[in-house]
Symmetry: C2
Subunit: 466 residues, 2 copies
């Protein structure tokens, strides 16, 4: 690695490339090629999405990529929020299309015309679906791998409910799902309600999960939106109630993206490369044979170990014989494999293996008689340590601020009292040249608005977001 993590921006770019997650040289700005190792990591995360959303009664579907302009334009706030950043398909072959098509930036306007056909009566509710797709945003800001790209690997769930109460219950369930995901990925976060001027176009309100990157800037890694009837009215999604009358459904959505990979890279990585939480690591254990003398004997033992471990873990045996063990250590540290297992002639004699932790670099010798259990508990330890370490690191970046100068000078998230008015909110943002990333969902405390001095219970998190 050329750059230490201290130089976060340069380090981030370098580590992504060297760890073999993506190749950024694809000749369209903001679009990259997912390489096998990076794609496997993303797919492991996707598989967890599938598992947990299925447990929470969602079904997986796939909606078309292209959305007719006519459907796209039905909800006014939504289209206004997106029209500067959608890609337009205007021609099929050599002919102009009768109706232009939007390359989906998110799928409300693709899905909801179908919802209005699917939902007839209360028996059809709740409806809960999700899809894992790519979405497209013509970003005008500077692009950054995983964090701000033009083709985004995206998860979106959409639900429809009979009543506002039930849709609120879904929001709570979504928060619970998010907690499991964050734990799986070992990502700490702040849960915030977005300001009105920063909510999702068309939403009644939006909840963001915000993490703090080592640079002190916040990164929104999940969003949960309450639509109530904002979309069901323009898209005419009505159902027959038990009392014989009709009503519009209440809707919610939940979105996440490849930003999660960006957060993992940024938060857990170190000067030697990325560090992947064991739960989602493409390779949990890499076996490096320490071959000096007795080459065949050691390799044979390594293959035996690989076979034993493959029953329980995601394992890779690095048996390349044109590289030294030292090079392999460097190579797999860069790629963030949680445990390196070393096996050499001396270890065979002693009936042991050496386990090296990627998170702390600690090395321990474990007897072959109980090494499966040893590895199992070590993987759990690493997962927990990554989470704790990240939480501590994030906590250190959150500070209470007394005045505008405190906010400006703090490289992280500042907590200030805010009366909640849009006027004071914009003033905070203008004076600090930062953003209110949101207000905490459960935390309140008495204080005075930093701008107008009015008594308030509302706290605002102020930071520079990505």
């Amino acid at each position: 690695m050329e750059f230490p993590k201290e130089n976060f921006s340069e380090w981030y770019n370098e580590v992504i490339e060297k760890a073999g997650l993506v190749d950024k040289r694809y000749p369209v700005k903001g679009m990259h090629v997912w390489l096998p190792y990076g794609w496997q990591l993303m797919r492991n995360i996707d598989e967890f999405f599938r598992k947990i959303f299925t447990e929470h009664k969602h079904k997986e579907v796939y909606f078309p990529l292209l959305i007719p302009e006519t459907e796209f334009k039905k909800e006014a706030e939504h289209i206004a929020g997106f029209e500067n950043e959608v890609y337009w398909v205007t021609h099929g072959g050599l002919d102009p299309l009768d109706v232009k098509l939007v390359v989906r930036p998110t799928s409300e306007t693709a899905m909801y015309p179908m919802f209005s056909l699917w939902i007839r009566s209360h028996a059809d509710l709740p409806l809960r679906i999700f899809q894992i797709v790519n979405v497209f945003r013509y970003e005008t800001k500077q692009t950054r791998t995983f964090i701000r790209v033009r083709e985004v690997h995206f998860f979106e769930s959409h639900t429809a409910h009979a009543t506002a109460e039930e849709s609120e219950e879904q929001i709570r369930d979504n928060i619970e799902i998010w907690e499991s995901i964050a734990k799986k990925l070992a990502l700490p976060y702040l849960l915030v309600r977005k300001t009105d001027w920063d909510k999702f176009p068309g939403a009644a309100y939006s909840i963001g999960a915000e993490t703090i990157m080592p640079s002190g800037r916040t990164l929104q890694i999940a969003t949960i939106h309450q639509y109530f009837q904002n979309f069901s009215k323009p898209y005419d999604i009505k159902y027959l109630k038990e009392d014989g009358t009709h009503d519009y459904v209440h809707q919610t959505t939940f979105g996440m993206s490849e930003r999660l990979v960006g957060a993992i890279v940024g938060i857990h990585g170190d000067d030697r490369g990325i560090v992947i939480p064991p739960e989602i690591a493409p390779i949990q254990i890499v076996i490096v044979p320490i071959v000096t003398k007795n080459k065949e004997g050691v390799l044979e033992e390594a293959r035996k170990i690989e076979k034993e471990l493959l029953k329980y873990f995601r394992v890779h045996l690095d048996d390349r014989d044109n590289y030294t063990p030292g090079y392999k250590f460097y190579y797999w540290e860069l790629k963030g494999v949680p445990i390196r297992l070393e096996i050499g002639p001396k270890d065979i004699e002693k009936n042991q293996v050496i386990l090296a932790r990627r998170d702390t670099f600690e090395k321990i010798a474990v007897s072959r008689d109980e090494y499966i259990e040893g590895i199992s508990s070590l993987l759990k330890d690493i997962q927990e340590n990554l989470m704790e370490r990240a939480e501590k690191e994030m906590g250190s970046k959150i500070k209470e601020a007394e005045n505008i100068e405190d906010i400006k000078s703090h490289n992280g998230v500042s907590m200030v009292h805010w009366c909640g008015s849009e006027e004071c909110g914009h003033k905070i943002e203008d004076l600090t040249e930062k953003k209110i990333i949101g207000t905490p969902l459960d935390e309140h405390s008495p204080g005075k608005c930093i701008i107008c001095g009015k008594e308030t219970e509302i706290i605002a998190y102020v930071a520079k977001p990505y």
Copy 2:
């Protein structure tokens, strides 16, 4: 079902909708919504692709959807073959793009500029990658679900090799992979070399796997292409040889699509609905409790059975209590679940379950003491029976033809001798109003060209393709 399978076209449209595979009412022609049941079927097929291609040393990647016009246009035959049917992205937000973007119709032109960066020396070869994505074709012909659509769920593998011999070896390996896939899906096929005027744009030659639908029309369900150096030259994909000189790589590809689902629907289905081969069925066994008296006792037993079976199979318990067993039989037959397991009070007494086969409608009673084994072997039987039945059916649709009239009057594939010349080939096609779908890979026999009378060993398959 309104239509019997005899009325194939109408039956096909009806069964897809009623079985809940897709919803065709999406407001863009030729694009449909994949519903949970259909999507799970497609995803099971995808998972098998992943498994077998990984076993055959391919790695999964993801390339961007959008391809710059400049890259797209590098290989002349390729662009000529596609330019009438690609979707063009011309605008980002409100601005026209500097370089127009093609929505991928297939990924050669996205991948190969990167290959030229990745491949440096013989040590980088062979390169074998695949991706599972959607591709887009602006079809001008009539669209038909799964068979001819504008957004296609697609599998594509791409390989690069040092020599022509090694790329030929890859073609043989691809054929072996295809055989496993066809077996998994219980699909019979003819393996053919496409005519020169029908090969893939840019390929040196193309091999097609063609199945015959009940309508007698052929459906190309997989294609394997040999490019040799046709792409590596325009895309400048060179490698350093051991002797110190440089050479262009030799490339192959392998493509399959959601057409496989269309073939499964068409070939295995019957008057009661679709029939899904057990190996890829979203649900292999549906449990229908026969509830008359002792409702709770039967349901409890059904739940116990579900729990036992879930350890080994993909199982669903239909415990809806607002539907009769008769309705549930009808419902799950329509959806093609291979085995229905019935459990009622009498069965509980007798310590047995009833298994009903979807393929033959046969019902058998199996003792609870050995029902796991019973189900296991029954699933195998059904898989094999579907394959055999389909092979027999397909065989009956292939006939030798002596003259043009024979071909015209035969509703299926006609085998005729052909000298191999493009002139006679076009004449066969024009006179019969059918197509030469290809020539068999391994079969030869002496005979005379049906057009010019010249002695030849070449056989042509002539049929009406979808």
